[in-house]
Structure formats: C-alpha cells, structure tokens
Symmetry: none
Subunit: 255 residues, 2 copies
C-alpha cells in the first residue's frame, strides 16, 4: 500500500465522509420529491435516488476500507497489512453508470420502443466501459493501464455519440422550459464522465506513491458527486418543469 | 475451510458486496414503484421487494461470514478457525423461493381460488425442494450430494410442470402487451432455477478446494441476482403494462 502523508490521509478520509453524506442526502431528496412530479416522471426520480443510494453504500465501504488500510496516530500515518479495496468503485460503477443513462432516457419520456432500445444500448455500453477499465485500474504497469483505458474508451465514445446525435433529435421535442435543462444534464454527464479517464491516467502524469493515490481518490470522488448527485438535481428540475407543462388537469405539481 | 487464492478471495468478497447493493437497490425500487401500479398489482411488488430485502439481509450476513472465515493481509489469504456458514443461503431460499413463485402467480391476477391453490401448491413444492437439497450441500461425499440433489429435483420438476402446463393456459388470458413479458418471467425463473443444480454439482465436475468454493459462491450469486432482482424488474414491467391496459378511469399509471 502506498504510504500517504498525514495531510493526504485526512483529506481523503474527510472527502469520503463528505461524499457519503452528500449521496445519502441526495437519495432522501430524490425519493421524497417523487410525489411532486407527474407519475410519468417518478421512475426517473426513483432511479436517480437508487444511483445515489448505491453510491452512499459504496462510499461507506470505501471509507471503512481506507481507515482499515492505514493507522493515523501520534501524527504519523502507517500502512496496515490490509490493502485499500479499489474494486468497490468499479462494483459501484457497474451498477450505477447504466442506471445514470437510463434515468436520463426516462426523464425525456420518449416512446416505449425508443425508451427500451436506448436504455438497453446505452446501459450495455456503459457496463462494458466499466468492465474494460478495471484490469487497467488494478495494474501498476502504465502500458497495461493505457491498453485497457483505450479499450474502455470505445464504448465511451459510442455513448457520447448516442447522447449528442441520437438524443439530440429528441431534445428538440422537449417542452421549451425543459430543453435547456436537458442539454445541461447531457453536458454534465459528458463533462463529468470525461473527467474519470483524466483521473485514471494520473500515474501517466509522473505522479507516484501517495500523490497518485490521493489524486485518484479525490478525482474520482469529485466526478462521482457531479455525475450522480449533480445529475440527480437536474433530473428533478426537468421532471418538475415537464410536470408543470403537461399538467392539463390542474393537479398542481410544483416546487 | 478450503483455502482460496487472493484473487478468489477478492472476487467472492466483491461479488457478495455487489449482490448486497443490488438486492437492497432492487428492494427500494420495487417498494417505491408500488404507487405507480394499480392496487391489484401492489401485493406482487410488495412481495418482490420482500424477496430482495430478505436476500440483501442474507448477503450482508454471507459477506460477514466470508470475511470472518479468512484473513487477507500482506497479500496472503489464511483461513481462520471460523467456518464459512453455508446455511445462510438455504435459510434465505426457504423464505424467498416460495415467495418468488407467489409473486409470479399474483402478477397474473388469476381468480381468487386459483391464486390460493397455485400459491399453496407451488410454495410448498419450493420449500420442499430447498429442504431436500440442504443435506447434500453440507456433505463432502459425492454420492450423498447426488442422493439429496436427486430427491430435491422431484419437487423442482413438479414446479416446472406447473409453470409450463398449469400457468400456460393462464398466460393466454393476459393482455397482449403483457403476454410476452409473462413468458419471459417464466423462462427466467426456469433458467435461473435450473442453474442452481448445475452449481450444486460443481464438486462432481472434479473441482476441489478453493476452486469449488469459488465456483459455488459465484455461481449461486449470479443465479440469485437473476432469479430475484431480475425477476423483480420483470414483475414491475408486467404490473405497469397491465395497470395501463386496465386503467379505464384514466388515473394515468405510467412509467
């Protein structure tokens, strides 16, 4: 286990605790808000909350794994015999990344056929992207990391293409008040997902030891908060706007 | 306790954590989705969520039992004096397997008499199947495993016959938009349940030691995810489609 400085240990420790709290809070917000949107958008909020709930669970486990991997006492950090478990992130992403794309498709309320076909295609590409990234993540060898990172980039490029080409046409059919938000949700997904491969390649930038461990953990944590809790808030806003526009019988869904 | 390699230890460890998260997420999804289906289908979703909730509890216990059975430090796995508890799975199945068949019967919305008689017959056969399988599971002796496995197959064959013969007629009476999904649910149940006896007989295939432990744990875990969380999603989709078709007063149940 790479040794970290006391500052790095505390920074990562507090970032994990912060992220657990953020994800758990986002879950409560998204699930409690279900009753404020029209029934057609409730599954999108249910799934947005599932994503943050699954992430909250994994940040709890990641936090426990971090505190098991190091002892911080008398101002000194020492490594224990127990390795920090990198796999939790990949297990989390395998579940949450397909769900993130599905929540985006659901809130757009396409036809049933389009919803199913886009969910299946985007969800499968997302799962493939995660599976291909893992062998590189656990390797200390840079060429191996580059190889799997590149393979993992293929489904990522496909997803970006689907988001901007395939979903582009559907955005034009969204109500005017929601169009801009849907574009922002797409952009947030693109930008935050594009941040992961940058973090992934941190060892390539000449970082080593505790610096690379800290950069990767903090980097992934920031990206997770934006991609999951951040997207969840946008999904909620889109669902509220669309519920208002489509509220022809005056049930008064509103924030 | 059979010793496993560090790779096998981590694979099983992460698979158990993944399955706990999946089952807990499926539970939240199924219970939150109750309000999106007609009242007649809510019990099916309640019970689908019970199945995944019970499984989440047992995967938490199984995970704890796995980490108590081995120590993984400094890259080496050693067995502790504490045996991994195989019984959790059977206790789980004794509760969940009858419920899985009951959720399938409930979502079909048969007459009250048929619902009760099919639930009692299928549920009892399922419980008998599990009880007969256990003495073989805990035996290290292959003939004993074969004997109890064969006895356990008798109620299994009866269940398959009921699913394809008895329920077959009822499927023809389902609304057109749901028929295909009901057939898929029946096929998923048959295929995933048929996977358990294959895993059960892993020691018969010449696997020994850590290989047999890993194969059995990963095999049962995959089968559990398909049979419980996978079936739950299908039950939800069937309930939504049927609610839409039967929604004559325009309450607008929808996804």
């Amino acid at each position: 286990m790479d040794i970290v400085t006391p500052f790095q240990f505390s920074l990562v420790y507090n970032a994990f605790s912060f992220t657990f709290a953020t994800m758990a809070a986002a879950t409560a917000f998204l699930w409690l808000s279900r009753s404020q949107v029209a029934p057609a958008y409730r599954t999108a909020l249910t799934i947005s909350g599932l994503v943050t709930a699954i992430a909250a669970y994994h940040y709890y486990r990641i936090f426990e794994s971090w505190t098991a991997a190091y002892t911080f006492g008398n101002g000194v950090v020492t490594a224990t015999p127990f390795a920090f478990n990198d796999a939790y992130r990949y297990v989390d992403w395998l579940l949450t990344v397909p769900l993130l794309l599905i929540e985006l498709v659901l809130v757009m309320r396409l036809s049933r056929e389009e919803t199913i076909s886009k969910s299946v295609r985007l969800g499968s590409a997302a799962a493939l992207m995660i599976v291909l990234g893992y062998p590189g993540e656990i390797s200390n060898d840079i060429p191996t990391r580059v190889l799997w990172g590149t393979l993992s980039a293929i489904p990522f490029v496909y997803i970006v293409w689907e988001l901007f080409s395939g979903l582009g046409k559907s955005i034009a059919q969204q109500p005017a008040s929601a169009q801009n938000l849907v574009r922002k949700a797409r952009l947030l997904t693109f930008a935050s997902w594009g941040f992961y491969p940058i973090v992934y390649m941190a060892p390539y930038a000449g970082l080593t030891g505790g610096n690379v461990t800290t950069t990767i953990q903090i980097g992934y944590t920031i990206a997770d908060i934006a991609a999951k809790a951040g997207l969840g808030v946008l999904i909620f806003l889109i669902a509220v706007r669309k519920s208002e526009v489509e509220d022809t019988d005056g049930r008064g869904y509103a924030v």
